[in-house]
């Protein structure tokens, strides 16, 4: 067996200036990989950490607004800060979830709950940026989101769908490609229950192709008289877009192709459809899918609101993990549940909880993560991390570990400044032990 694995490195692609693009191809035998003839470090040294790790994928369930840890994965039943939220036993003795997550409780063996996430950023926009990129926003460098990094590092070139897809809008910036450039921005779908907008050509396919050619010919003159950069960037985008909509893989966006039984298993609602579509997309070769569920900014009426939200998450998330497992995809698909921060232990005068980055939760499953465990501990009032603090760089290093991305690999900004994929932090080893 001598199938060639294509390695594709884009050393420095920038947004509006294509500085230098180095594509190099390197073939190694898949048989050698499969036989385990090469260790991870061998692979690293082979291609300076730029090897593509075939098939690794990630699905992030983004809880926009900052989900309350107390009403989800860390109920505080015996403390007044718990606010009366009841807990239930899970499949793992000693681990309890809020009673609004019965399906997830059954799957606790697959999940690692980090209860000691900690950061200092309590502003939505900045914290969402932090939990997407691993960096705080600065005016000077636009950091790429993890999805963009994963697309850049892992994308399957044979896949004609965008390698980074976001389902559902929640006020997040769509230019998450950062300094990696336009082609690493997420492809955003408002909703999963209908195909993405404008993906059906307005004409016959032949005419669509002929229009593309006409466009290229008509733009040649402008390109040669000063517009080269603009035209080249534009061309790249249009090529990508046309290749995508002409592809048979577009079927991944069509939930109607799923058996009714499967749709029922995921449950109802936009978030459920998003989870099902995420699985279809990953199955088709998409590297990174983010499914968003907004509304977690519960400054008022926290208990009713979070119950409704948790109910929207419970079944779809549990079914997603179960479905991936059943299809043998869970080992190479990391599933992450997180938001930008948690909520205050103290309930405010409006029955709400405010922003709280000091101690919050992230839940991981699949992608080599050892389930059935809780990492870290908070004080009985939920206010402080009592044991095993996990910082955002620690978390991002762990994501990289799971996805087999070298976190110390440097990526070039447009001005040629090398930036590490993750700056500082340590892998949370317990996750993988």
């Amino acid at each position: 067996m001598t199938t060639q694995v294509v390695h594709h490195t884009r050393a420095s692609i920038s947004r509006n200036r294509v500085v230098a693009r180095r594509d190099f191809l390197k073939g190694i035998s898949v048989a050698a990989l499969a036989a385990g003839g090469l260790s991870w470090t061998d692979l690293l040294s082979l291609q300076a950490g730029e090897l593509r790790r075939r098939g690794m994928a990630c699905i992030t369930l983004w809880m926009g607004g900052g989900p309350s840890q107390f009403e989800t994965f860390s109920p505080l039943e015996r403390h007044e800060n718990g606010g009366g939220t009841k807990s239930i036993a899970t499949a793992v003795p000693g681990i309890r979830f809020a009673d609004s997550l019965p399906e997830m409780a059954k799957l606790a063996k697959e999940c690692a709950v980090i209860r000691s996430m900690t950061s200092k950023e309590g502003n939505h926009v900045r914290a969402a940026y932090l939990l997407h990129t691993g960096y705080l926003p600065t005016p000077t460098v636009k950091y790429p989101a993890l999805g963009a990094v994963a697309a850049h590092q892992l994308a399957d070139k044979a896949c004609e769908l965008p390698s980074y897809v976001r389902i559902g809008r929640s006020g997040l910036s769509d230019s998450a490609g950062g300094f990696l450039g336009v082609e690493f921005d997420p492809f955003v779908l408002g909703k999963a229950d209908r195909p993405p907008e404008n993906t059906a050509p307005a004409t016959t396919n032949d005419r669509f192709q002929s229009r593309q050619q006409l466009l290229a010919r008509m733009e040649a003159d402008y390109a040669s008289s000063g517009g080269a950069e603009q035209v080249a960037d534009h061309r790249k985008l249009y090529d990508q877009a046309s290749r995508m909509i002409m592809s048979r893989q577009m079927r991944a966006f069509d939930l109607a192709q799923e058996p009714e039984k499967m749709r029922t298993a995921y449950g109802e609602g936009a978030f459920a459809s998003g989870c099902l579509m995420a699985r279809r997309l990953v199955e088709e070769g998409v590297t990174f899918v983010e499914v968003t569920l907004g509304g977690w900014d519960t400054h008022g009426d926290n208990f009713n609101q979070t119950r409704k939200l948790a109910e929207q998450v419970d079944r779809p998330m549990a079914q997603l993990i179960a479905d991936l497992k059943q299809r043998g995809m869970l080992e190479r698909t990391l599933v992450v549940w997180m938001g930008e921060f948690g909520r205050t232990p103290k309930v405010n005068a409006r029955s709400g909880r405010d922003h709280y980055p000091q101690a919050f939760n992230v839940v991981l499953a699949g992608g080599g993560v050892r389930g059935g465990q809780v990492i870290g501990r908070v004080t009985p009032d939920g206010a402080k991390v009592a044991d095993r603090p996990v910082t955002v760089p620690d978390l991002f290093r762990s994501f990289c570990h799971s996805l087999k991305i070298n976190p110390d690999a440097e990526q070039m900004t447009p001005i040629g400044r090398p930036i590490k994929i993750v700056d500082g932090g340590k892998v949370v080893n317990e996750l993988f032990g």
Partner: protein, 543 residues
């Protein structure tokens, strides 16, 4: 008639008035030319330093540029032809004057500022509920010639129903929260990025955490109150004093700087102090007193940053690059490509009543503005040697599309649809949908604004656009054109003028004609050409 006067008297008066007007406008023009020349001179000394300059922009490209910049829409084919053929030496200046009397001028700049404010909204509801009233309010202000100082004061002191009082936008977008409002007031009105000082002393500036919270102490008594429900939930901005004051609002009466080590504690009581001037208010002032005083201090002539921030933004929009590269991160320690130039232009701007029309007239009169354009990559080394090619803002691109396709009625028809919930706010229809896909934060450096696959898909396949392209629809733009014009090269020229505001080059014309000849159906061939034009890189940009 009762009021008939003696003819010679009337003539005399008319002649006198005309003479006064002419000499007035002549001296105004002189003054403008003088300021513009001085800007160019200073720029030459500070920034250009003898570097090679791009040649002056040709008339057609200039007309497209100035039209997009002032009224947010490209010129029509007839306008282009008559402008290019006009031999008058002052035609560019006259065109600017003419565009500035078009009400779309106010609307275009209102939309720009609405986007500046809304792009950083903390409250999603603001976009739909206050987006339209903000546009309406600002349009009116710009069109009636209100100074930016006056507008800025109203943004700080606003009260009332957010659906009707557009000046509430800045406050409502931040839910009236003191810290967010303070950060946004500093960013939008002063060009200062204070946000980081909320939690720690500013890493590369002198701003201390205390200063941020002293500034936030101007806003603790702003109240966002839900109004009785009619069709949809609505809000008003009011003052703590007016909303009853007591109860759960009591704690809100003052601003406290949180204790980072003990976030549960009340924190330190802060008095309102304006970080730029050190001016302070005594304790216990009402909301009205706090905000009105702050509005005065921000817009005081002694505060140079207020004018500079504005001048820098407008310059950046027009030239494609600001004196300070990031329009909302100014300050004494920031790199400025031409400090004396921006200083000079800002002072003249203040003397001329903070008038946007004056500023647009002046900047567009400079040689710097009238240079040919280059892409950002090519013009990075020395700023202002060429105008930088910019992507069009969503509203401008939408207007360019509708005017190219002659589909202006599209918008109004959809806006009148009462079934759309957003119709209650005037935020619906294709323009709003388009904005969801093409909108971007105008404060972000333009090189970071990227085009997305969704945008390409909409322009390639959007059903409404496809309908607008129809060549066999005798009611449509292309259908009419094909019926009335039998010469293919003239049809091609007309389509180029409608989309790119220029005639096709010989090579381009040859490509088009070849395509038409190789396609069996004439209308279909030109649909393809029009499709390619609106899908071209050039169409989406301002050169």
């Amino acid at each position: 008639m009762k009021h008939r006067c003696k003819l010679p008297f009337v003539l005399l008066v008319v002649a006198g008035l005309a003479a006064a007007l002419i000499s007035d406008s002549a001296s105004a023009a002189d003054d403008l030319a003088r300021v513009a020349a001085e800007v160019d001179r200073l720029l030459g000394e500070e920034a250009l330093r003898g570097k090679p300059l791009a040649p002056p922009v040709d008339d057609a490209a200039y007309l497209r540029r100035i039209s997009l910049d002032i009224v947010g829409e490209p010129p029509g084919p007839a306008e282009i032809t008559s402008f290019v053929l006009d031999p008058a030496p002052d035609k560019r200046r006259r065109m600017v004057d003419q565009l500035l009397t078009n009400p779309q001028y106010g609307q275009n700049w209102a939309r720009y500022w609405r986007d500046v404010i809304m792009a950083r909204r903390s409250d999603e509801r603001a976009l739909v509920r206050a987006g339209n009233s903000a546009t309406v309010y600002l349009t009116e202000q710009f069109n009636k010639g209100a100074g930016w100082d006056q507008i800025a004061r109203s943004l700080v002191t606003a009260t009332g129903d957010v659906r009707h009082e557009g000046s509430t936008a800045l406050l409502f977008a931040q839910e009236g929260k003191p810290e967010e409002t303070a950060a946004e007031a500093a960013r939008v009105l002063l060009g200062f990025e204070l946000q980081c000082a909320q939690c720690h002393n500013h890493p590369y500036d002198d701003w201390k955490r205390e200063q941020f919270h002293e500034f936030a102490a101007f806003f603790p008594r702003v109240v966002v109150r839900p109004l009785p429900n009619d069709i949809v939930q609505n809000f008003e901005i009011t003052s703590l004093e007016k909303s009853g004051g007591g109860g759960k609002n009591k704690a809100k009466a003052e601003h406290y700087m949180p204790d980072l080590k003990n976030p549960q504690a009340q924190g330190t009581l802060m008095q309102p102090v304006f970080f730029l001037s050190g001016q302070a208010l005594p304790p216990g002032m009402t909301d009205k007193q706090r905000r009105q005083t702050l509005a005065r201090w921000i817009t005081a002539r002694e505060n140079p940053w207020f004018a500079k921030a504005y001048v820098n933004r407008v310059w950046a929009e027009l030239l494609g690059r600001g004196f300070y590269e990031t329009v909302d991160d100014l300050g004494a320690k920031r790199k400025c490509a031409a400090p004396r130039t921006v200083e000079y232009l800002s002072q003249r701007f203040v003397e001329n009543g903070y008038d946007l029309r004056w500023l647009l007239r002046t900047i567009s009169s400079t040689a710097a503005y009238q240079r040919a354009s280059k892409s950002r990559g090519e013009s990075d080394a020395t700023p202002f040697t060429a105008v930088v090619i910019q992507p069009l803002r969503s509203d401008v691109l939408f207007s360019a599309l509708t005017s190219a396709l002659g589909a202006n009625e599209l918008e109004s028809a959809a806006a009148a649809n009462p079934k759309n919930k957003n119709a209650a706010y005037g935020r619906n229809g294709p323009r709003f949908v388009f904005e969801q896909v093409f909108g971007f934060d105008p404060s972000v450096p333009r090189e970071e604004v990227s085009a997305s696959i969704s945008q390409a898909l909409l322009l390639m396949n959007g059903p409404q656009l496809s309908h607008g392209l129809k060549g066999d629809n005798p009611q449509g733009m292309l259908g009419k054109l094909l019926l009335s014009e039998s010469h293919d090269d003239l049809v091609a020229t007309e389509l180029y003028l409608r989309t790119l505001s220029r005639e096709p080059s010989e090579k381009e014309l040859a490509v088009v004609i070849e395509h038409v000849h190789s396609t069996s159906k004439r209308s279909a061939a030109f649909e393809d050409v029009l499709w390619a034009l609106i899908n071209s890189a050039e169409f989406r940009q301002r050169r």
